[in-house]
Symmetry: C3
Subunit: 152 residues, 3 copies
Amino acid sequence: MNPEEQIDRLNLKLPPVPRAGGIYHPVVIAGKLLFVSGQAPCREDGTFITGKVGKDLTVDEAKEAACQTGLTMLATLKHEIGSLNKIKRLIKTFGMVNCTLDFSKHPAVINGFCELMVEVFGEEYGKGVRSAVGMILPGQVAVEIEAIFELY
Amino acid sequence: MNPEEQIDRLNLKLPPVPRAGGIYHPVVIAGKLLFVSGQAPCREDGTFITGKVGKDLTVDEAKEAACQTGLTMLATLKHEIGSLNKIKRLIKTFGMVNCTLDFSKHPAVINGFCELMVEVFGEEYGKGVRSAVGMILPGQVAVEIEAIFELY
Amino acid sequence: MNPEEQIDRLNLKLPPVPRAGGIYHPVVIAGKLLFVSGQAPCREDGTFITGKVGKDLTVDEAKEAACQTGLTMLATLKHEIGSLNKIKRLIKTFGMVNCTLDFSKHPAVINGFCELMVEVFGEEYGKGVRSAVGMILPGQVAVEIEAIFELY
């Protein structure tokens, strides 16, 4: 699997890399582990997809936001390390959904991110471990996802 | 400490391994680190313990759910890596409680998981670092716990 | 950068090390990775800063609580490993804010922790990756933060 070729082949459009909204690095590498800061769904125009899932957004709309969060993460990774081909695999995803108190379909939402990762990094290495849960997110973005990858 | 012998000695009943409810691996290993996906409290009949803690479940009931989440995690680990004796220690637990907005006793709930880990992996290696916090969980399960272990 | 000297130079007052409120270790080391349990804002008198941010606390008050959480973490680290000079860098922060459902300024709150880390560990190594999100916290503490550091 060649992630950079996959992005071209699938004609994926990466959004602009968001400016850091606080005092942190977008990416930190320790040994073979690459840690990524929580990413939000950045549109191509630089704005974010916001709203409470289960009230302002449907599951399908939130799943699209999770996919857009994945594209934002790929843009951030590419900007920080130069080439996605340095990444061996996804290890871990923590998928956070900004949702109503009775919302239940977090897995279906976060699948939008996970399907993208499988398309780019392949069936085995594009899947990591995962939690998909609900909370209150900064700027009321619809989805925020942090991840750990393994480098070659 | 021999975790497999402990499970026999304590006569622990592991629930069936839940089917993946999304696009992820139950376990990913990177170097000596073993990452586990968020586990929910699966009963022996395959159903999950659900409800908002502080309203639908008492602290004691939720603590039992956290213990059942631990049994579910042990079942998942055993299924994925064959023997729990490959595990040296628990490194980190992230304990998530599906609770009311004014609930405060997350540590008492997650202790249900931690007591089980100490029984199976011992006083030193059965304890990891921990956060025990409240959020909105998928399928309204009462508890969800993810963890990192260290392999021998 | 010499973190111990920085603490003296900045005249930082570390609070007492909180007693473990459950079955866990404050710190676990695996290879060069140091994991810290979720820390809460402990005052010098041993009590915790509590309340819902966005209702009981303003953003500025919550930012101070995040700074106090950082001081609590430094106290815990010093107690557990003897000297902060064994730490090379901050890798990852997970910043949790106990907030109202419509709160949005989690990054501004968690910056209180991050500014302290930069003062102690320096501009490059005092910054890690980060998520700053909202949930329901144990004992209704205002802020809870867990982290991963890299050792020399």
